[in-house]
């Protein structure tokens, strides 16, 4: 009857997270019928864009068997420096150009991570911990530490641009910003790379076993290098969107979010040991965190309990499969 479902459907993290999301929505709708409206959906979507893009990057790194904690610093570095650059040399710059600059900056910083990790073989956590400090320290020391709110006007235009905006007959206001397209683009592109290219399969292979990958002739170094460059580019994109949509180039923002993003990804089923992780899972993980962050109040839990709730979700989301695996291992002897 359920042949079309993957064999492990019922035990997958994706299923668990989707279940929790549905449960949450159900309870929320019961306590406040206004919850299940297009307003909520558009609010949540908006809140998911930046985290979503960052999470895709974090997932890719996890799949390759590494961990990256520097992507927030990359994002804010790319965003801030591209904004400052634009303001100094060409304030009338069209936003797509700023976006490209930011993405290129991000990729360049990612390349630095990639260099240390792929070519010098340093442990990923340590490298990215170091570059987190370096990127942010460099940014704040040499590029600027002021929050800039008079952005290039085109960035403001971007943030005010919407794909759709309006009020439903029931009186529910919604707006879907252009930035949502960026998230969509990132998902499609990453899906293509991971599923349809040898490069993508190599990333999974390396995450499964670096040694095996090396032995069958996968170019491990360049593949890893690519991963960090790509993730850097995504961070650059996320950063510039964050800046535009937030109407401020804040060099202090984003950093501090890295662990929550990784948590969302792990909730979605990616494993720290590498080789496992899906886009669906990642998006579900992000959705869950965003919903909890934004809608706890609707189901009658004061927002001051937000942290506790997310913490417990992470513990459950990672604990249930971990415990199951532990039991299975004990069973197998």
């Amino acid at each position: 009857m359920t042949d079309w479902l993957p064999k492990d459907f019922w035990t997958r993290n994706e299923t668990l997270v989707a279940g929790v999301i549905m449960l949450f929505c159900f309870v929320a709708t019961v306590s406040d019928p206004r919850f299940l409206t297009i307003t909520t959906v558009s609010d949540l979507l908006r809140a998911s864009i930046v985290i979503g893009i960052l999470a895709v990057g974090a997932m890719l790194v996890l799949v390759s068997g590494g961990i990256d904690v520097s992507f927030t610093a990359i994002a804010v570095f790319a965003m801030y420096s591209s904004t400052v650059l634009s303001l100094t040399i060409w304030p009338e710059i069209p936003w797509p150009v700023i976006f490209v600059i930011s993405v290129v900056f991000g990729a360049a910083l990612g390349a630095i991570n990639g260099f240390f990790i792929a070519f010098l073989g340093l442990p990923t956590l340590i490298v990215t911990l170091g570059t987190l400090s370096i990127f942010r320290g460099f940014l704040l020391t040499f590029i600027g530490s002021q929050r800039i709110s008079d952005l290039p006007p085109s960035m403001r235009d971007f943030s005010r641009g919407v794909i759709a905006r309006g009020t439903t007959e029931a009186g529910n206001f919604y707006s879907i910003p252009w930035a949502a397209l960026a998230l969509l683009f990132v998902i499609v592109l990453t899906w293509f790379i991971l599923k349809k290219t040898m490069l993508g399969r190599s990333i999974y292979a390396i995450g499964g076993s670096v040694e095996s990958a090396r032995r069958i002739g996968i170019n491990v170094k360049w593949t890893q290098f690519f991963v960090y460059v790509y993730v850097g580019a995504l961070a650059g994109l996320a950063g510039i969107i964050h800046g535009s949509v937030g109407r401020m180039a804040d060099p202090f923002s984003l950093v501090g979010l890295e662990l929550s993003v990784i948590a969302a990804v792990v909730l979605g089923g990616a494993r720290l040991i590498g080789g496992y992780g899906t886009l669906t899972g990642t998006m579900l993980g992000v959705a869950l965190i965003v919903i909890v962050q934004n809608s706890l109040i609707v189901i009658g839990i004061p927002t001051t309990w937000q942290s506790v709730t997310i913490g417990i979700l992470i513990l459950l989301g990672t604990g249930v499969p971990a415990y199951r695996a532990k039991r299975a291992a004990a069973q197998a002897g």
Binding site: S133, A263, G311, I314, G319
Partner: protein, 334 residues
């Protein structure tokens, strides 16, 4: 004949010693009147213990190949609980003896929170099999979350004057926080090198599966590790509380990565099995000299962050190259 001396000069700790001496020397030369002033020296001694103690907590967790991302959460939750006890039950008018009793109760409560939090972390790792990084990431949010829920996210303040003593007083001219750090560092050193528990921690970190097969009681060991980390975090929390004369759910959030960074810089292997307290102490001192020295030179705090990161990667590059050299000079594993 001198193998142990030779070993030491080849060890990461020795390199750290050189770095520390170099930084100290450099700063003394660059700004002799200020860096070596007694004002600066005492100020340094007041500053670093709070995050240094968190680094010690991180060290023991890392020795097992784990990590404790909840230390700052534990520190703040402990401090918030202590602060609430103090603000509810004691006040400025109270006789000193009575407020001292409340202070003792608050401190005990904070340490209990640390122990319980550690027990929770340990159980998640030992009994539920969560990877430590996720277990403590989640639990850290929960601990912080409780602190937020208890305070509404605001700072708790209004303590009797005695509270300020923990973080601001001196004993025979030595700042109390420094004394606390020294005592804890020495204790941890003893525990790691001179007790069966400490050796087991190291061995487990080197190969958890082999530890299981060697009939080591892993669960109990892990519980102890995280309880120690939790209680160390509580002490750090109390110092922070005393120095900020207040407690808040998100104090010291920048200390988390700093603690990891110091531990790794101190030569602790983040995958477990190697680490020495002396290395961590040297790393802490290097960081503090560097950061104070730069402060003397009027360099912004942000540049310090930059330099810390660079130092970490530099040390890693040196250490791993040392490791490859070491490896090729030995017969390799199959």
């Amino acid at each position: 004949m001198n193998t142990s001396v030779k070993d030491f000069t080849a060890s990461p700790e020795f390199r750290l010693l050189i770095i520390m001496v170099f930084v100290f020397g450099l700063m003394s030369v660059l700004s002799p009147d200020r860096f070596l002033s007694s004002q600066n020296l005492t100020s340094m001694a007041f500053q670093f213990p709070e995050f240094a103690i968190l680094a010690l907590a991180m060290t023991i967790a890392m020795m097992t190949g784990g990590i404790d991302l909840s230390v700052v959460g534990i520190a703040n939750l402990s401090a918030v609980v202590a602060a609430l006890i103090l603000t509810h039950f004691s006040n400025a008018e109270m006789p000193a003896a009575q407020s001292a009793i409340w202070l003792a109760i608050a401190i005990t409560a904070a340490l209990c929170i640390g122990a319980i939090a550690g027990l929770i972390n340990g159980s998640l790792v030992a009994f539920f099999g969560l990877p430590p990084i996720l277990a403590t990431l989640g639990s850290g949010l929960v601990f912080t979350g409780f602190a937020i829920a208890m305070t509404g996210g605001s700072a708790v303040m209004g303590f009797p004057d005695t509270v300020a003593l923990i973080g601001n007083a001196t004993l025979a001219g030595v700042p109390v926080p420094l004394i606390l750090f020294a005592v804890l560092a020495f204790l941890l050193h003893l525990v790691l090198t001179r007790t069966a528990f400490g050796l087991r921690v190291t061995m487990y970190g080197a190969n958890p599966l082999a530890a299981l097969y060697a009939a080591i009681d892993i669960n109990r060991m892990l519980l102890k590790v995280y309880v120690i980390a939790g209680m160390f975090a509580s002490v750090a929390g109390l110092i922070i509380m005393s120095r900020a004369n207040s407690a808040k759910a998100d104090y010291g959030s920048s200390y988390l990565l700093l603690a990891v960074l110091i531990a790794v810089l101190g030569g602790v292997n983040p995958y477990g099995g190697y680490g020495r307290v002396i290395g961590v102490v040297l790393a802490v001192l290097s960081m503090q000299f560097l950061s104070s020295g730069l402060n003397m030179l009027g360099v912004s705090n942000f540049a310090r962050e930059l330099i810390w990161g660079a130092l970490l990667i530099l040390v890693m590059v040196i250490n791993t190259h040392a490791v490859t050299a070491l490896r090729s000079s030995l017969k390799p594993p199959k």
